[in-house]
Symmetry: D2
Subunit: 137 residues, 4 copies
């Protein structure tokens, strides 16, 4: 291989390394594993328990919105927004932990589900309708 191509290849390898490291979901997953192991919390992180922790956090999220109008829910002040962002983070943490414990690839599962939704709710058929039986779940 010519030196020039050798150089390019090395740069590409270094970049690909960064790409892997930078997959943000994978990165959080690995750091959560370490976080749990350091605290010896693995024993509590059964899928059953994690599903409960996830919905308890979702309950805290809902609590922020329960007395707001739709308009108010779109216009949170900075303090509310910070608090809500931390609730979303808590849910994400348990979602990633749960997927990890079950060896589920969260991104792959989501892409798969989005394909199903695309077929289930053809744009021309459900346009503008939010009937609960024709929504994306």
């Amino acid at each position: 291989m010519a030196p020039k191509n050798q150089h390019v290849k090395e740069v590409m390898d270094r970049l690909l390394d960064r790409v892997m490291v930078e997959d943000p979901v994978d990165d959080i997953k690995l750091r959560l594993r370490k976080f749990v192991a350091e605290r010896d919390w693995q024993q509590f992180n059964t899928p059953k328990n994690l599903s409960m922790a996830l919905i308890a956090e979702a309950g805290e999220l809902v609590e922020h919105f329960q007395w707001l109008t739709d308009e108010q829910s779109k216009n949170l002040d900075n303090e509310q927004l910070k608090a809500v962002s931390h609730e979303l983070a808590d849910i994400f943490v348990y979602l990633i932990r749960l997927a990890d414990e079950l060896n589920i690839d969260l991104i792959k599962a989501t892409n798969e589900k989005m394909l199903i939704n695309r077929k289930k709710y053809p744009a021309e058929k459900v346009k503008g309708s939010a009937n609960k039986y024709t929504y994306y779940d």
Copy 2:
């Protein structure tokens, strides 16, 4: 700039483009925006409504585990695993949509929250204890 470095720069640019495109959460976020727009569902996607949709999906997740023992919850068969993976996907979809509507960077918020958790629950102090007041929420 010498031709050789020019070539390297071009390769790096192309790679960096791919890195951006391949951020999986961002990618899903953009496709969900399109999915919602094509169906004219933007009107229903208020933060308040999305928080409800998220917890309703979390309820479906919990339903899978409610009568299982911890051991059973770790050993789902393939059919259960597929169904659970789709529930996780549904939750992820609404989590990403909600963050998007509120202009919250989900990854950044999660990293921020994980730093808070790290300080709140020092490993040496909480090791092996799952007291609900000293867990990661």
Copy 3:
């Protein structure tokens, strides 16, 4: 009517009054209406909002149990038991409020649903099995 029967009738009327007053769900319903009216909170008590408040309280309930084993969940200490009893009360409050706003008779609806469950899950057929598709929902 003879004096004797007159006396009996009066006692019966007084007792029937007590029966009405003592229907505990109805009694709580009426006191909650008053509680809400005194605070001018009627405006926030839409069925939609009340369903959110109810599930947020259910999330607080779940939080108490999420890291406990089944055995631990059966043996709460007095402090936990008091806290859990107040979560159950919060859920009951919103359940009664929601039924009231929708003019649903909670007791009648429950009796109706229990009849459906009885037919759906014949004892001899589901005995000892907790398959989620053959349980009482």
Copy 4:
């Protein structure tokens, strides 16, 4: 005792019997115990599992309201109303079962909590405000 009073006493006793039988929550509690025992489901009815079943039902309730406006949530059609009444019944069933398993008197706990709420939210102070930190939980 004179015959007349004897008669009154007998009527009162019969009425008091009916009063006891007619406490609707107690009545449902006893019938649920029987329902569970006949199906040998006692083993699954741990407080932990019942808290999960309760919130899963609450999720089904929320699903009915998630895409509705406040106004629409007040004006359900008969079919929706019937479905929602059955979700409320499902939640009530698990609430009563959970209280029963923990030996909590649901009515007593609710009355106790309502007294706390009354002190926590003085009418003159919170009138017309739904700030989530000054609401009734």
